[in-house]
């Protein structure tokens, strides 16, 4: 079956199926459904360059976060430090491969995939080219968004630190700070690449 795009003047709400008539999509707007108040689309004035800059910073921060220990624990003269991957490996070595995979995916691998694939799509787009498979990739990114949990991890780390502080001396590591920065960078990156904005960049480059 063949479909035609019909985005010029009509928008159907993805949350309640109501049809809206639209005059023109503004450059910087957030439009909500008149009935169910779902966000129909959001565009901003951010450029592809802004998104690329944020993605590069996020990549550097993610590498830093994995190169240095998150926390160091000192107890009666012995000390122990762990990295993010080290924490996942610890779960794995105790026979909990599934939880280890869940932790590794949501804190390291999915954010890494998001950053790398955004760069892979946006860099050619900046030069008016299309990366092979960009549509599939961006679709996957939209779906993966709830599964990148850097901000949840930061709160979990705070809980763990408070519990540890009751029994030993705790020294926050470099990675804890860089991961905190990564959390902020990723949320900025997400807010400058809303779904509708991306597809507008794609359609703009074709013209």
């Amino acid at each position: 079956m063949r479909l035609e795009t019909d985005t010029s003047s009509v928008i159907v709400c993805h949350a309640c199926d109501l049809v809206h008539r639209l005059d023109a999509i503004a450059d910087k707007a957030r439009v909500r459904c008149i009935r169910c108040q779902a966000e129909l689309y959001r565009t901003n004035s951010a450029s592809v360059d802004t998104a690329i800059a944020l993605a590069v910073s996020a990549l550097v921060l993610l590498l830093l976060s994995n190169a240095y220990p998150l926390v160091e624990l000192q107890l009666n003269g012995s000390n122990r430090a762990t990295t993010l991957v080290g924490a996942a490996l610890g779960l794995y070595s105790q026979g909990y491969a599934l939880i280890a995979a869940l932790v590794l995916l949501t804190t390291v691998l999915i954010p890494l995939f998001q950053i790398v694939s955004l760069l892979y799509v946006l860099l050619p787009l900046r030069m008016n080219r299309r990366a092979p498979g960009q549509n599939e990739l961006f679709r996957t990114l939209t779906h993966l968004r709830p599964w990148a949990m850097s901000e949840v991890f930061m709160l979990g780390a705070v809980v763990a630190l408070v519990k540890l502080a009751a029994m030993a001396q705790v020294i926050p590591g470099v990675a804890l700070f860089s991961y905190g920065m990564l959390m902020l960078t990723l949320s900025a990156l997400t807010s400058v690449t809303p779904t509708e904005q991306f597809w507008r960049w794609v359609e703009g480059s074709r013209a």
């Binding site: 079956m1 035609e4 985005t7 009509v10 957030r30 009935r35 105790q94 780390a157 809980v159």
Partner: protein, 213 residues
Amino acid sequence: MGRRQSSVTTFVMGRTLGLLVCTHCRATVRATGHSHATCPRCGASVHDRKPHSVATTGALLVSAALLYVPANLLPVMHMHTFFSDEDDTIMSGVVSLLHEGSWPLALLVFLASIVVPLLKLIAMGWLLVTVVRRSPGHALQRSKLFRLVEFIGRWSMLDVYAIALLVALVQIRSLAIIHVGVGALAFGAVVVLTMLAAQSFDERLLWDIRSDD
């Protein structure tokens, strides 16, 4: 940021006009047939409604509800120290945070680990029941409840991360060693299953009954 409302005269459904919305890139497309269709903008398959949404969400929700019991009853951590052997459940973790004097954090963990999963199970279950029984009314409130559930779901992972860090760090031989408990596996599964349940639910079902009238 500019904020506008689009203009509508009467409530017309995309379904009645033969218009579909791509759930992936949210492009509005005109349907010209019936069977498999792909979005011309992003290439995803476009459906009138997400296929088997009620059955999929229901199955994921029932599995999550079953696992919620061991997730809360079984220990998520075992701690062996020089003096004692302790089992920690999710709830005893909250209580120990309270004893350590950080009640805001205890409240946070209590909300994220106990209240949020339970709220998700009850809310999603109720939404499914209203869809199956085709009860109209309160569509806006139900829609907002669904979006709340969708938004807060991931925060339950907080305890899983805390456990992962505790297990990795407290491995000091002869002084203190922490092992993962099987409850953590059940708990992680509850979080993942309820998130998948929310993802497979088609919000438009909440509005369909109303528009059919």
